[in-house]
Amino acid sequence: MTQPDHLIKEIQHGNEKAFSSIYEMYSGAIHGVIFTILKDQSLTEEVLQDVFVKVWNNSQSYTLGKGRFYTWLLNIARNTAIDRLRSKDYKNARKNLSTENFVDIISGHDNLSGKMDAIGIKKFVEALKPICIQIIDLLYFKGFTQAETAKELNSPLGTIKTRARNCMNELRNLVLEK
């Protein structure tokens, strides 16, 4: 989506209305990323809260024109969630660790956001090739680098990029059709 640079600037000047708009735009996606890592609703909500408080307090550390704002946000969310994953809280809350990925989560949903054709997405992700599921899971939801993903999947560095391109392109076509 088009990055709302003017709102980001306003946040950096302490505008709470702009912050509310940014939350409106990005909280859903960030919520999903955190949930994929933690797989616990109440912990996810706590972390989502933490993430946006960090965004408000550290908005100055994002530089317009240097990388995507969403990428910056995504990093804060993944790091905060992973920190929580390692904490005692998490270990107490999650006695049975599951190995679910985003596909399992979407398949298990019945209360979808309603922003998109939920059935379409569900069908799409269920039809994804296992390698695409892994690629998107590692790169997008887990925040692996290209090199880490190549190591994890035991494949050459260059193929990670082309696979990411192919796997995400299908998703893109689906989303943009709607």
Partner: protein, 263 residues
């Protein structure tokens, strides 16, 4: 790389997920600067990933925003703002201390300079006095030189008296026109305490001495040059050692030097 090659490479997807190396990020950012169209490609990738995770997360509880607002208000007013202010205050204090130190340093420098100036002034005075003295001495010396060279003056040698002081001598520079003379007494020993040299103008036939003057402050007159005036027409000059204050007539047994004027 062309725009199409960049799009097909998968670099943009990894750019959005922040999975690229620093080098590749730079490559993408340079490509964006070159082909601004790439932004819309990136935006589409971003949007599709956002939609995907929105579906994963489901509906976000409305309570979360309220809680965030509660925290940001607190953090902004209690935690965030004060450090900023204290940072400013700290800078202020640091500036004040620097200012104070600077001022102190300048005052110290100033007093050092004043001290130096005082010293230089004293030094100058001393030097000025020396110059003045030397000026006077130079004037004296040139006057003497002038006098010695002048045709108006006649130099009369007064050899030492064999009986009293054979090694003594004196010279009289006599100006008959102005009726004055200078006595160069360099060749006379310093008179003992309570004694003074007295200069006499003499007429030979018969021997008539007339006192011309006393060489007072002999010891303090470094040049040993003395001026005498109102000299009765002399045929010779003599110098005797007399009790302090001088004598009416010369003590011939204390005649130190004697010389006649060539006729």
């Amino acid at each position: 790389m062309t725009k199409e090659e960049i799009i097909a490479s998968g670099l943009l997807e990894l750019y959005v997920t922040d999975s690229l190396s620093r080098q590749d990020i730079q490559l993408v950012e340079e490509a964006i600067a070159k082909y601004p169209d790439l932004i819309s490609e990136i935006e589409e990738i971003e949007r599709s990933l956002m939609v995907l995770s929105e579906e994963v997360g489901g509906k976000v509880s409305d309570e979360i925003w309220d809680k965030i607002q509660g925290q940001t208000n607190n953090i902004r007013h209690i935690d965030k703002a004060p450090p900023k202010r204290s940072m400013g205050a700290l800078t202020g204090w640091a500036a004040a201390i620097l200012c104070f130190l600077g001022l102190f340093w300048m005052i110290k420098n100033n007093s050092d300079l004043k001290e130096q100036l005082r010293y230089s002034n004293t030094q100058n005075k001393v030097l000025q006095e020396k110059v003045d003295i030397q000026g006077i001495q130079l004037t004296e010396a040139s006057e003497l030189l002038e006098m010695v060279r002048s045709q108006d003056f006649e130099a009369i040698n007064l050899p030492g008296n064999e009986a009293v002081s054979p090694s003594s001598y004196a010279t009289v520079y006599y100006n008959a026109k102005e009726n004055l003379a200078y006595i160069d007494a360099k060749g006379l020993p310093v008179p003992p305490n309570g004694k003074v040299y007295q200069v006499w103008s003499l007429k030979m036939e018969p021997l008539t001495p007339s006192s011309v003057g006393l060489l007072t402050n002999f010891e303090d007159t470094e040049s040993r040059f003395f001026k005498v005036e109102n000299i009765p027409t002399p045929e010779a000059f003599g110098i005797t050692l007399e009790p302090k204050g001088g004598s009416e007539s010369p003590s011939l047994d204390q005649l130190y030097a004697l010389g006649t004027i060539a006729p």
